[in-house]
Structures are given as C-alpha cells and as structure tokens.
C-alpha cells in the first residue's frame, strides 16, 4: 500500500500541524508536545484525553465543544509520554479539576497514572477513567481487563456534556464510569490495515476470511470464518453483544456503527438496517443510531458495533450536541 508521509519520525507531528492549519480558530498547539487544546478555556471541569496516533480521528478529533478540552498524542499505536499528558493538562483550564479519559491499554494506563501522580504533587486535581468496552478481549467476569475501542467516543461525549452542564470533578468521573458500565463493543475485520511508516500490511489475513474481535494490529480474534452476508455478520455480532450487555425488554439503547476506514457507507448502512431489525425483535427501544468513522485503524476493513444502554441521567447528557471538525453529533430534543 502506498503511504504518503515524509518520514516515520515526523509523521505524527506533521499530521497534528496539518490539522491545526485547517482549524486555526478552534485549536492551539501545546508547546514542545504532540498535543492540542481548545483555544477557548471554558470555565468547567476539563477533560484531557490521549492515546496512540493511527486511529484517526481518535483521539485528535475528539477535542471540541461538548467533548474533550485537550489531547496528548503518542507515536502510532503507542501511548503518549506522561510528560505530554502533563503539558496538555497545564494548557487547559484546570482550576476545576481534570478528568483523564483514555482507553484501557497498558501503556495508556501507565502514562496517565504517572502523569496524574506527578500532577497531584503539583497540586492538580485529577481523576482517571479508562474505557473497557471491547467484549472480545476478556470475559464479562474480567470486565476491568477489557481494552477500550470505539465506545470511548460515547463515553467522552457523555462526560463532555456532564462537564459542560457544570458537574464537579467527581460528578463528571462518576457519569463517565456509569456510561462505561453500560457500554459494549464488538468489531469485525475484513481486511488488514497498513502501517503508515512502511505501507506494509499490519497482519496477514487470507482473502475471503473475516475475523471477529481481532485486534487492529492483528492479535487473534475470537472467531474466524469465511465471509458471510451482511445480515449474518450483524446477527453474529449482535447476539454476542446482547448476551454480554443483558438488556431487559423495553430498555433503551443507543448504537454507534463505526466504520474502520476501508469499509464504505454502502456496506455500513446495510448492516445498520439489520441492527435495527434485531433490536426491534428483542423488544429493545432504539434511542439513537448513528454511523460514523470515529476510530479507524489505518485503512483496516471492517467495522465495530457499539451498544450503550441508557437511563434517564445518561440520556440527558447523551442528548447534548458534540462539535469538532471530525466528530459531530446534533442535539437530541426529547
């Protein structure tokens, strides 16, 4: 695969610079750091997110109104250094405390915990919430070990709304954890992505096979099979997701259908139609459905389905508008 970069060392910094060129009115760069912050310092609890580059728009595109206030970027697929997280935290309005929101990967957890400890020594108030939505990575009994994937978009959106609504630091952290508790994601991979540094495939996949729950970098999934019709794929995924989430008839769920970059809207819409049918058959109320590309590992084929079970409190925050150049969600008026 031909990749358009200048050099592997510079690619993340240059991506960030290009993104800033396109949105000079919204963001500013954090000095000496691969990170950016919202120019407007809103007087509220701040949310700082971060993670490896390479899954854009996660996490660079998650900074915006009703979303995060700042982001620290690592190398491709590697957590940002603790120092970068600290620099971003110092650049946002942090007087009311800062919520660190990241996906549950070893490197991210280590760096956010370390940054939090070092910042606490300097008098900062921080809380950490790690998203654990990927049901393929550990059984339900070990939920806290699951890694975080596309569902982080919904947790961040809800936490962003809670912060904008004026909740205090513990309140925002509580709402974020509650959203994470009601969140489940499962992905299917249809073709490998490509490393931006070399253009090499990130893993081997035989043509005509698909794999459920596969890691973006080719870690084995939970189920591999020949390519199936869209409806059959959606059925298999929803069956596992619902068995894990265990909603009761009449419960309300929001659905995020996240394309991995190589899979187009034509395919995603077909899958979305089937998801709605399944929810109807199970007597679940579809509160909201949206199709987007919010976590896209380097041209990988496939998609993930995220289900979020909503109660009145979560709905109130889910309803708020979210606005960034690559992550829009209109306000829902109920």
């Amino acid at each position: 695969m031909n990749k358009i970069i200048n050099s592997p060392e510079a690619m993340v910094r240059e991506m960030l610079e290009g993104y800033l060129c396109a949105n000079p009115q919204l963001f500013e760069k954090v000095p000496d750091t691969n990170g950016l912050v919202l120019k407007e310092r809103l007087d509220k609890v701040a949310i700082v997110t971060g993670g490896g580059a390479g899954n854009e728009p996660w996490n660079i595109g998650y900074v915006g109104y009703g979303l995060a206030d700042g982001v620290a970027l690592g190398h491709v697929y590697a957590a940002p250094p603790a120092r970068a997280i600290m620099n971003v935290t110092k650049a946002v309005h942090h007087q009311k405390g800062v919520l660190f929101l990241a996906t549950n990967h070893a490197g991210d957890v280590l760096n956010f915990e370390l940054a939090a400890e070092l910042l606490q020594l300097e008098g900062f108030q921080t809380r950490c919430v790690y998203v654990t939505d990927d049901i393929a990575t550990a059984p339900l009994e070990q939920r806290e070990e699951r890694r975080g994937v596309a569902g982080v978009a919904l947790v961040l959106k809800i936490a962003g709304a809670a912060a904008a609504a004026g909740l205090d630091l513990d309140g925002v952290a509580r709402v974020a954890r509650k959203a994470n508790d009601q969140l489940r994601t499962l992905g299917v991979t249809t073709s490998p992505g490509y490393l931006p540094s070399t253009g090499e495939a990130m893993f081997e996949m035989a043509e005509g096979t698909i794999e459920f729950g596969m890691g973006f970098n080719g870690e084995p999934g939970i189920l591999r099979m020949q390519l199936q019709p869209a409806d059959r794929i959606a059925d298999l995924m929803m069956e596992r997701l619902l068995a894990d989430l265990q909603p009761a008839p009449g419960d309300e769920v929001a659905v995020l259908l996240n394309g991995f970059g190589f899979t187009g809207l034509l395919e995603l819409c077909i899958v979305n139609r089937r998801i709605k049918t399944i929810l109807d058959q199970r007597n679940l109320r579809t509160y909201d459905m949206f199709i987007d590309t919010l976590l896209a590992p380097q041209g990988t084929g496939g998609f993930s389905i995220t289900l979020l079970k909503l109660d009145e409190e979560l709905k109130q925050y889910y309803n708020s508008a979210a606005e960034s150049p690559f992550f829009h969600k209109r306000e829902i008026r109920s």
């Binding site: 690592g74 190398h75 590697a78 957590a79 250094p81 970068a84 070893a106 760096n111 084995p220």
Partner: protein, 219 residues
C-alpha cells in the same frame, strides 16, 4: 585503586549502552513482530538515540544525575508502556539517594534492586508473566550476590548480564499476561519477550563497557 565508576565513567558506560540498544533495533523488531505490534525496536532505538544525544551534550555532577537523565529521556521520548517502565528502571533506584560521585558494585546493585521493586509495583508484573521483570530480577539477584561475595565490578556486572540473559531465555517458557502478547495465549510459548531482550542487551552492554574500559584499572 578502588573498584568504582566515577561520574564520567557512568556517563560513558550509558552512552555505550545506548549505542548497543540503537544497534539492536532490527533484532528487537523481528522479535516483537511475532507476538507484539512490532514497534518495540523502533521505540527503544528512538529513546536511546535521544539518551546518547543528551548524555553527550550534558555535564553531570553526580552519578544520580546520569541515571536521572537516562530515565527521564526514555520517559519523554518513548511513550507507550515501555517509556514508563524503562524510565522506571533508571529513575526509581536513585529516588531519595544521596548524590554519589562514584559507585561500586554494591551501590549499583542497590540502585537496580530499588528500581526492580518500583517496576513490579508500577507494571503489576511478577516473574513468569513474560515481561522485562523476568530479566531484571535475576540480573539484580546476581549483582547483589556478586557484591556480597566481594567480587570485582567487571565480574559482578558479567554475572548480572548472565542473569538477565537467563531471565530473557526463561520468558520463552512463559505465557504472557500483559499487553498485546497476552491475546496470543499459548501461542506465545517458545518466543522471548521483547522487553526482556532489551533488558538483556542493556546489562550485557554495561558489562562489556566495564570489561573493555575499566577492568584494567583494578590495582
């Protein structure tokens, strides 16, 4: 003359270590590609290239400052889990330590012993989890034993390097409990942990440098 390393020698030893890690990029990449995401070599080379640059550019008043410089540079440039963990290997051992103008084998062993404790606490890993701890723990044990036996520095560091190497070999028998390798389960058997290989390279380079540049001083 006493069997110690002064500030300048410690600095030059770690410059040599940094060079050895940078030169191992391809080897580490091959290993990490099998059960990780293949970026350990690039990441380590990136961090240690910067370490070499920082060490060359700076003047140090104590051994502690050299360790601090190595650790902080790794922390800042590497990111990922490796940045924190390799940073910890060099920083935690000197926390609260009085500034030293020189170190002997016993002091070196104590620094790495303290780092090992911090590393296990931070990474929540034990021996057998197929991580860098598997190489650091036997290396520290060998250093402590050699120091207790009153062995010369060069001999003690050679024992430390052998310990790290044995620990690295041992990771082939272990099933990973952390990181991406975890999802490979039993398939990770027979393959060494890339972090443990890096630790082995670091201790081997320390031993080599002392062997080549310091062993002759023993009077």
């Amino acid at each position: 003359m006493s069997d110690t390393l002064n500030v300048d020698e410690v600095k030059r030893m770690f410059e040599y270590v940094a060079g050895a890690v940078v030169d191992s990029e391809a080897e580490l990449t091959v290993i990490d590609k099998k059960i990780g995401d293949g970026d350990h070599g690039t990441n380590m080379a990136l961090g240690f290239r910067e370490v070499r640059k920082e060490l060359r550019a700076k003047e140090f008043d104590s051994v502690n400052e050299v360790f601090h410089c190595v650790g902080m540079t790794l922390l800042d440039t590497m990111g990922g889990a490796s940045g924190v963990l390799f940073g910890t290997l060099f920083i935690s051992g000197i926390v609260g330590l009085t500034p030293l103008k020189a170190i002997d084998l016993a002091a070196l062993a104590k620094i790495f012993q303290k780092s090992l404790t911090a590393l296990k606490k931070r990474g929540k890993a034990r021996v057998g989890d197929k991580t860098m701890v598997d190489a650091v723990e036997p290396a520290v044990a060998a250093l402590l034993e050699a120091a207790a036996a009153g062995q010369p520095l060069a001999q003690g560091l050679a024992a430390g390097a052998a310990g790290a190497r044995a620990g690295m070999e041992y990771t082939k028998q272990c099933v990973a409990r952390f990181g991406r390798a975890k999802s490979f389960g039993q398939a990770s058997l027979g393959l060494e942990d890339a972090g443990a290989v890096s630790v082995s390279i670091i201790f081997r380079a320390m031993a080599q440098w002392v062997q080549q540049n310091h062993a002759g001083d023993i009077g």
